[in-house]
Amino acid sequence: MTETTATVERPTTSTTPTPRRQKRRSWGSLPTIPRRAAIVLGLLAVWQLYVMVSGVSPLLVASPADVGKAVLTGFTEGSLLTSTLTTLKILVTAMLIGILLAAVFTTLATWTKFGEDLLVLLTSMLNPLPSIAVLPLAILWFGLSTTALVVVIANAVIWPISINVSQGFRTANPTVVAVGRNIGLSGWRLVRDVLMPAALPHTISGLKTGWAFGWRTIIAAELVFGVAGSGGGLGYFINDARYFLRTPDVFAGLVTIMAIGIALDLAFSWLERRTVVKWGMKERS
C-alpha cells in the first residue's frame, strides 16, 4: 500500500492512548489504533482485489495503488499541491472575514436588543439557505473571481459561528458572571476574562460547524466555478481530471479533501481536549 493509506489512516491512529494488557483477545479488547488500521487495510484490500479481479475499466475505478501514485505525484510535481493550497487560501481568507463579521454581529447582539433581533432574523433567513445557492448571485456581482468565492464562503461560515457564540454568551453561567463582577471586573475585562472562556465550548462548536460548512461549500463552488484567477482549487482539479479521464486524479482529489477534513476535525478535538474537556465544561467526545 502507498501514501493513500498513510494519509487516510493517520488520523484514526492518534486518537486514543491505549493501556495494554496482553493475553488472548477478542476484537473488542484490541486497542483502537490496530482495530481501525485493520479496517482501513481491509477496505483497501477489497478495493484492490475488486479492480484486479472484476476487470472493471480503469477509466471508471482506479485501483488504490494508482490513486496512491496519483496523490504522490500530484504533491511532488505540484498540480494537486497547488490546487490544495489555492483552496485552503480562499477558505482561510473567507473564514477570517467570517469570524470577524461574526464577532461584530455577536457583540451587537450581546449589547443591544436591536442587534439581537437583527442576528436572529438574519440567521433564521440565511442559515437554512444552502450557501452554494448564493454563488450565481456572487458571480453576477463580483464576476468569475476569487472575491466571489470568498463572499460565498464567508456567508457560509458567519451564521453558524454567530449563532453559537451569541448563544454561548447568553447561556454563560450567571453565578460565574456574578462572581466576576463581585471581584471587581466590568466592561471589556469581564467579557475577556469571564464571558469568553465561559462561552468557549459554544465558540469551538461554532467554529467546527462553520469550518465544515465552508469546506463543503468551497469544494462545491469550485466544481461549478472552474478556474479562479491563475489556478483552480481542488474542486477544479477533480473536474478537470474527469474531463481528461484521469480517473486516478479524480480519486486523488477526493482523498485529499477527506484527509484535510479529518485533519481539521482532529485539530478541533485536540483543541477541545486541551481546553473545555480538561476544564470539565464539555464531555469528551
Binding site: V179, N182, I183, G280
Partner: protein, 282 residues
C-alpha cells in the same frame, strides 16, 4: 444568562481596594429601613418591607427567615447586585452602589468557581484583578489554601472537586481578597448533612483566626445558632425584622443553652407563621 444581566455588565464596580483587615470606626454594615424586592413582569414585588440592623467588626450575623422573606435579596443588595427600592445600605460608612471585592460573596452554587482556572488560580486571579503583585497573590493564595486545608487540591480544576471542596475553595477565594465584609448566601445549603457540619466547624475556626466580619444567610435554625454571633430573624414577606437574637458562644449542640436558643428562634419563626395564617383566615 439573560441580556438584562449582560447589560448590567457595563456598570463600573466600586474601586475600593481590598485593604488589609479593615480598621473602621463604627459598624461595618449598617442597614437602615431597607425596602427590597424584585420586579416580576414589570410589577415590583416587595420581599423586605423594612429592615434595619447593624453589623460590627468581627461579628458573624445570620439572616434567618422563612423562604421568600427576602434574606437572599437583602444579601444581594448589600453585595451591590440589586438596587434597593428604598432605605440606606452602608458598608464601612460608604453607601453601596455596585458590586465590589470589599464585599466578597460565597454563593450556594457549586459552579461559582472559574472552571478554566486551577484551584490556586481561582485564588490568585481575583487578587491580581485588584492590583496585587503576582508574587504576593501567590503567597496569599497558598496561605488561604492551607487555612482551608486545600493544599492537596491546588493544581486541580474545579470539576475534579467534591461539592464540599468547591465551597472551601470559594471561601478561601473570598477571604484572600481581605473583604471588609464576607457575604455568604446559604453556602452549605446544597451539601450533605455530614459535610455541612464539618464546614460549619471549619468556618467557625477560620473566622476566629482571621477575625473576618460575616453576613450569612441561612434557613437552618441549627446553623444560625452554631455559626452566628447574632441572628437577625425576618418575618414572612413582605418582611420586617422580628427580633435580633444573641447566640454568641453557643457552639455546642448538647448545651441546654443551645437548645434553648434554637427553641426561641423556632418560636419566633412559627409565631410569625401563626400570625400570617390567622391573617389569611380573616
Amino acid at each position: 444568562m439573560t441580556t438584562k444581566t449582560m447589560r448590567r455588565v457595563t456598570r463600573a464596580p466600586s474601586r475600593q481596594p481590598p485593604a488589609a483587615p479593615t480598621v473602621h470606626a463604627g459598624p461595618i454594615l449598617s442597614v437602615s429601613h431597607a425596602r427590597l424586592g424584585y420586579v416580576v413582569d414589570g410589577a415590583p414585588t416587595v420581599a423586605v418591607l423594612d429592615a434595619s440592623f447593624e453589623v460590627q467588626q468581627g461579628e458573624k450575623i445570620m439572616l434567618l427567615g422563612p423562604s421568600g422573606c427576602g434574606k437572599s435579596t437583602l444579601l444581594k443588595a448589600v453585595a451591590g447586585f440589586i438596587e434597593p427600592f428604598g432605605g440606606d445600605l452602608r458598608v464601612t460608612g460608604e453607601p453601596v452602589t455596585a458590586p465590589g471585592p470589599d464585599r466578597a460573596v460565597v454563593f450556594q452554587e457549586f459552579d461559582q468557581l472559574f472552571p478554566w482556572r486551577t484551584v490556586r488560580d481561582n485564588l490568585v486571579y481575583p487578587q491580581r484583578v485588584n492590583g496585587r503583585s503576582k508574587a504576593e497573590a501567590g503567597i496569599r493564595a497558598d496561605e488561604y489554601l492551607r487555612l482551608m486545608q486545600l493544599e492537596q487540591a491546588r493544581d486541580r480544576y474545579p470539576h475534579q472537586l467534591s461539592g464540599g471542596m468547591k465551597q472551601r475553595v470559594a471561601i478561601a477565594r473570598a477571604l484572600a481578597l481581605d473583604p471588609a465584609l464576607l457575604l455568604m448566601d446559604e453556602p452549605f445549603g446544597a451539601l450533605d448533612a455530614q459535610t455541612r457540619t464539618r464546614l460549619q466547624i471549619e468556618l467557625n475556626d477560620v473566622a476566629a483566626r482571621t477575625g473576618v466580619t460575616i453576613l450569612f444567610v441561612t434557613h437552618s435554625i441549627q446553623e444560625a445558632v452554631f455559626v452566628g454571633h447574632r441572628v437577625v430573624v425576618l418575618s414572612k414577606p413582605p418582611s420586617t425584622v422580628v427580633d435580633v437574637v444573641d447566640v454568641r458562644g453557643l457552639d455546642n449542640p448538647a448545651d441546654p443553652a443551645f437548645t434553648e436558643a434554637m427553641q426561641r428562634l423556632r418560636g419566633l419563626l412559627s409565631e410569625d407563621d401563626a400570625a400570617t395564617e390567622h391573617a389569611s383566615f380573616e
